[in-house]
Each structure stands twice: as C-alpha cells, then as structure tokens.
Amino acid sequence: MEFGLALALLGAALATFLPGMGSAKGVGLVGKAASGVIAEDPSKFGQTLLLQALPATQGIYGLLIAFLVLLKVGMVGGDGAVEVSLLTGVYILLACLPIAVVGYFSAFHQGSVAAAGVGVVAKRPEEVSKAMIYAAMVETYAVLALLVSFLMLNGVSL
C-alpha cells in the first residue's frame, strides 16, 4: 500500500521538476538574450518580457498535474492521505510522464525559439507577435501532453 503512494508521489515530483527545469532553462535563455536588447533600448522591456513568459507555461502545466495528483491521493485538501494500491500508484506515475518529459523538452526548445525572437524585437519590434506565434507553435506539444496527462489521471479511480 505504502509503495503505491510513493509511486504516485514520484509521478507528482517528476511532473513538477522536469518541466520546471525545462522552463527555468527556457526562461533563462530568453532572459539572457533580452538583457542584451535592454542594454541598448530599455523601452523594449515589455515586449521581451512577453517572450520570456512563453516558455514559463510548461512549468505551470507540470505543477497543475502534480497538484491534481496530490489532490487525488489526499495530500492536499480533503481528509488526509487515502490508500493507494500498488497498481494505482503505477497508473498515476504513468499519467504524469507525458507532461514530465514533453514539458521538459518543449520548454527548452520554446526557450530557444523565443530567444531568437528577441532578435526580432531588437530589429523590428512591430513584428513581435510573429515571434510569439513561432514560440507558441512549440508549445502545442506541451499542451497536448498536458491534455493526455490530465485525461489519464482523470481516468484513474482510487
């Protein structure tokens, strides 16, 4: 019984830290590129901040799934921990994997695209929305992974 809970928590941990790491990396990449632009023209702060926020969402998607897991196993809210069978634990762990893995990689790549978009802000600030759309194309897969994780988790009954 205890082991099932441990697996569920492992799932929550993975869903938090992998996309979180990816987002941190992505946001960091954009931040570095943006600082160079700001040194030249501080008025572009708002636009670059928008680009920097884009790869931040994967971390939030991961947190969202992790939180749903914690809610499910009764670690947050409710009336304390519920019993999680070994098999249920495995299910929950598997449900966390899509967002954990895709979240990590898509955040990193979205960060690279958004960082390149900072160059667009430097040269043609009026075209920032196009750079944002490019970055959003990468996010599509994180959105799909979030969806699958959510549906899987929703399907697991305790």
């Binding site: 809210g77 970055a135 996010e139």
Partner: protein, 638 residues
C-alpha cells in the same frame, strides 16, 4: 465588410500649385501617393533632410525636458487639442524651435558643468592618498636634506622598504603615508648626498617618484579647496538642471511641433515621389473608389487635370479593409499575420467571432473576464488611445465579454473562489454547482468533444469561404470537387456515429468523388487516378487540424486548475493570508493565461483557419495625412 475597391489616380497640376495640392491631399487623407516612374530632383531631398534634422532636435529636446522637468503629465493627461491650421502654422514651429534652441543651449552648458565636475573629482583622487601628510606636498630640499614623494607597489612589504632605504644610506628615513590595494604612498627624507642612491635602491623595488611641483600647501588643504570647488559646481549643476525644466505648455508645444514636422516631412516625401518640371507637377496615387466623386470636385475646383482608372493588370493596389465597429479591432490580428492581398478576401468578419469565442473558452473565468473588460473600458475612456493600442483595448473589451460568458457557463470565477471562500468561512462544502452548463474540470471528456466540434465547425467555415471565393471567380465546378466532395466525406463520417452502414456509403461516395476529380490537372489517365487516390491522404491534415483544437480544453483547464490551486493554498494559509495569496496568485494566473489565450487563439486562426483559404501578402493602404500622434485635431468646416 470587405476589401475596399481602389482607383488609380493620375493628376497634373501647375508646378507652383504643388505645395497647395499636397497640403490639401494631406488634409483630406484619402490618397496614397506612389512613386511616379521618374525620380524627383535632388533639391527636394535637401528640404526633407533639413526637416528631418529639425525633427530629431525636437525629439531630443523633448527627452531632455522629460528628464529634468517634473512635468505633472501622467499616462492619463489628455493630448493637446488644436485645429489643423494651428498645428501647421509657422508660429507653432518657430515657437518650438525657440524652446528647442533654449533647451539645447542649456543642455550644452550642463554638459560643460558635468565635465568640470568629473575633472575636479579626478584631481581630488590624486591628492587623496597624501591627505595624512602634514608637510606641504612640494617641501623640496634644504642645505643638508632632501625630501621625495614616491609610490611603491603594494606587494612590497614595509620592512623591505625600510631595508632598502637603510641599504642606500643610514641618513634616510621613509614614512608610509597611506596604502591602498595597488600602492604604498611614501614620504622619504634623506641626507642631500645620499638621496639619489636611496631613490635608486627603491626604484629597484619598482618605486616611482611623484612630483607636485609648486604645491606649497598640504594635501589636506588642497583637498579642502577642491571640495569647495566641487560643491560650487554641484550647485551650478542643480541650478542648470532646474533651468532646463519646461512648463507643461512648452512641452505640449514640443509634442505638437513633432506632429507638425512629421506632417511636413510626409508632404515633402510625397512631392519627391511625383515629377516636377519647370512648369508642371505630375502625381500618381491610389484612393478608395468611394472617394472618387469628392476628389473630382476638389480637383475640378482647382483646375487640375486628373484621371481615375481601375487597377490595370499587374498593378498592385494597396489593401484597405472596411468593417463594422465590432469587427474592425480584429483587423489588427489579421494584419499581424499579413494584410490580405487586394484580390483576396477580407477574413476579418468570419475570423472575429471565432477568435473571441476561442479566447473566451481558453480563459474561461468570469472574474478574469470582468477585469479584462474593465481594464479595456477604462483605458478607452481615460486614455482615448488611437491606432494599434486602441484596437487592442477594444479587443480586450470584446474578448473580456466572451470570457465572462464562458466563465459563467463553465462556473469559473477567480477559479473556484466562491466555494473556497465558503469552505474557509463556514467550514462546510459549497452546496451548489456554479456552472450554468458544465464544469470542464469535472467533465473533461464533454469538454474535449465540444472543443473538437468547434474545431470542425471552423474548418468547415474556412472551406466554405474558399468555396465562396472559387464560385465568385466562376470556378463552381472546382468548388464542388475540392470542397463539396470533402464535405460529403465529413458528412459520411458524422453519419457513421448514428448509422454506421449509411455513413459508410456516404463516406465512400465522397471518397469516390475525390478519387475521380482530384487528379484532373494531370494529363495521363493513370496519373489522374493515382493523384486522386493520393488526395485521400489529405484526411490526415483535416484530422490533425481538428485535433489541434483540443488546446481549447487544455488551456481552459490550465486557467481553472491553477486558479483552484491558488484558492486551495489560500484556504490552507487561513483567513488572513487568504486575501494576499488570492490577489498575488490570481494576478499571476491572469498574466500567464492572458498571453497563452491570445497567442493560441491567434494560432488557431493563422494555421488552422487561414490555411484553408486566406490569400495574404497585401500592402496596407497608407494615405498621405496630417500626422497627429501627440495631438487631437479639432475638426473644423473648410
């Protein structure tokens, strides 16, 4: 509700009428001047270069005025109001030039003072290490003694200095006045005869002689004098900075003058685009067809020779879209992608409802929607914005309203704030379901199906627009083959859900139609068949397009669940912290999801919807107008 029809304008006027004509056109603001076949003369360029110089002076004067004045001019103060005549009057320009000249003069004085300040500060640094020396800096030598100021690298230990001095002479004494990270500052007194030898010994350690020739006061006195000087300069700087400060009226003049100069530059550029000969001026341009009558009257009155004609083959007229007030803010979203080609179709009327709908579903929180709406209304009311920002705020109001509707349908109000607050303050679970329709967090499958159905609707709508374009161009058979047969396939697939057998027959009929017609461009009968067969593979394209709309579910979940997480954290921290967690948390959630909802709604339009029919690559209509970025022009009868 469409792309405005354009007319080509060709016009001859007398050369001396050129300025009057162009000023008039700028006033009317409905004609885009295009480059006439042969270029203008060089003399014109000089005129617009001079205007450009004036403009940059005015702009830099504005920025130094902003830097030094405490202008009580916030975000919310209104723009200066004036009539067009006032804006373009020479008085305004000369006044602005006076202000600019005064500011530039004071700015120059100020930069001289800044230079003086840094000179004194640097000088002070050279005296600072000797501050503790009680004798004048240039003590020099007497009959039996000689004094020297030296610096020794700080890596040398004081005892090594003493040893080196002792080695040079027994009648010598070094005093270390001060030390910093790089150097020891040394005062050396020695017998006249041995002085040179001692210095040599020290130089072997890397020492250097320092001279303050003629300074017969101590370093401390010198520093005191410099400090006094510095204080005086500082005061002067403060005074000069205050001097640069301008009144709000003067600043407004500068803003208006910027508009005036930019308008003049536009006119000068237009003059260059036309052709001026000794007697005549020739101009080409575009204007909306609906302005033809009004322009004819104006030209007739002034006796110009003119001609309006329809765009010829190969000419590329600029694009101007004309839409109702509710739709036109969405033009901005299309223009971000690329303005429609003149020969294409205006996508805005059909795109706008989808954009607002999808945005609302993705954000789906009545609380957030209300905030967005109020922010938009407030900005429109207080800032009276124009151009892109105005469209943006109008979008905020429209999309905010859509968000409120979907928030109510899905039961989102700052996440689950009402049930959470109820739980926090009564300790009981909230007994009602707030969702007017259903709650996607509890029933994600319904939401997924709903999302995909909406996707299907938009895809079909996109194909319908394409079909309309084909029929408009007389290609009704192609419309039947390329769109109609696919619809039969779709219809069959949907029918399968209710009646598998019938559905399959319909689907097969559609597929057969596609196989028979999609290879029609090929010559060879076998190639026709294979092209037709291969076209069925496009079904994967439609399939992935529709699946892409699952993001409606994912993003609405993201808003709702993160909102719920914030509320749960608030409940855990207790009543006092609840509000703090609530405010910070929801602000964060709004910011992240606002960006996400906007970008992803735009993506669905650009990739999935526009991909079906949109002809992009137009050039926006940019008529010659009076520029009024900083001013509100008061309309007057002319």
């Amino acid at each position: 509700m469409a792309i405005v029809r354009m007319k080509r304008l060709r016009l001859f006027a007398m050369a001396e009428d050129r300025e009057r004509l162009l000023d008039r056109l700028a006033h009317l603001g409905v004609v885009e001047i295009s480059e006439a076949e042969s270029a203008g003369e060089a003399a014109e360029t000089a005129a617009s270069e001079k205007l450009g110089e004036t403009l940059s002076q005015i702009v830099s004067a504005q920025s130094s005025a902003r830097k030094h004045s405490k202008l009580k001019k916030g975000l919310f103060s209104p723009r200066p109001e004036m009539t067009e005549q006032e804006l373009l009057s020479s008085e305004l320009l000369s006044e602005a030039e006076e202000i600019t000249a005064a500011i530039n003069e004071r700015e120059a004085a100020l930069s001289r003072l800044y230079a003086e300040r840094s000179r004194i500060a640097t000088l002070r640094k050279t005296y600072a290490p000797w501050e503790k020396l009680d004798v004048p800096l240039d003590t020099g030598s007497g009959r039996f003694y000689e004094t020297t100021l030296m610096t020794v690298p700080s890596v040398i230990k004081p005892e090594d200095i003493a040893a080196a001095v002792a080695e040079g002479s027994e009648y010598a004494e070094p005093f270390v006045v001060s030390s910093d990270r790089e150097l020891h500052y040394l005062f050396l007194i020695s017998h006249s005869g041995d002085a040179e030898r001692v210095r040599e010994k020290l130089k072997q350690l890397g020492a250097a002689v320092v001279k303050f020739s003629g300074t017969e006061v101590t370093a401390r006195e010198k520093i005191k004098a410099l400090d006094a000087e510095l204080l005086a300069v500082e005061n002067e700087i403060k005074e000069a900075e205050e001097n640069i400060a301008v009144t709000v009226e003067q600043y407004d003049k500068l803003l208006a003058a910027q508009d005036a100069v930019e308008s003049r530059i536009a006119v000068a550029d237009a003059a260059e685009k036309g052709i001026t000969t000794a007697r005549a001026f020739y101009l080409e341009g575009w204007c909306p067809a609906r302005e033809e009558k009004m322009l004819s009257e104006v030209f007739e009155e002034s006796g110009y020779a003119y001609e309006f004609s329809d765009p010829a083959e190969g000419e590329e007229p600029p694009t101007l879209t004309y839409n109702s007030k509710l739709i036109s803010p969405f033009n901005m979203i299309t223009n971000m992608y690329s303005p429609p080609a003149y020969t294409g179709i205006d996508p805005n009327p059909t795109m706008a409802p989808f954009f607002a709908l999808f945005f609302g579903i993705m954000l789906s929180d009545a609380g957030y929607g209300l905030l967005l709406m109020f922010a938009g209304i407030f900005a429109l009311w207080k800032l009276k914005p124009r151009g892109g920002f105005r469209s943006f705020m109008q979008l905020a109001v429209i999309c905010g309203a859509s968000t409120v509707v979907w928030g109510l349908l899905f039961g989102g109000f700052f996440g689950d704030a009402i049930p959470s607050a109820y739980l926090l303050f009564t300790g009981k679970t909230f007994p009602y379901d707030l969702a007017l329709w259903f709650n996607p967090t509890n029933d994600p499958m319904t939401m997924l199906i709903f999302s995909l159905v909406l996707g299907g609707v938009q895809i079909v709508a996109g194909m319908a627009v394409k079909g309309y374009m084909m029929i408009r161009d007389g290609l009704w058979l192609d419309a039947l083959f390329d769109i109609g047969f696919w619809w039969v396939v779709f219809g069959g697939a949907i029918t399968c859900i209710f009646n598998a057998q019938l559905g399959l027959y319909v689907l097969a009929a559609g597929a057969l139609g596609l196989i028979l017609t999609q290879g029609r461009a090929k010559k060879n009968i076998i190639m026709k068949f294979f092209s037709g067969l291969l076209s069925l593979y496009d079904i994967t394209g439609y399939f992935s397009d529709i699946l892409s709309y699952s993001r409606l579910l994912a993003l609405s979940l993201a808003t709702a669940v993160v909102g719920n997480v914030i509320n749960t954290m608030g409940v855990i921290t207790g009543p006092v912290c609840f509000f703090l967690v609530f405010i910070i948390g929801h602000l964060f959630n709004i910011a992240i999801n606002l960006v996400g909802s906007f970008v992803h709604s735009a993506r669905l339009q650009y990739v999935e919807y526009f991909g079906k029919f949109y002809e992009s690559g137009g050039r926006l209509f940019a008529p010659l107008t009076i520029k009024s970025k900083n001013t509100d022009i008061i309309k007057e009868e002319n």
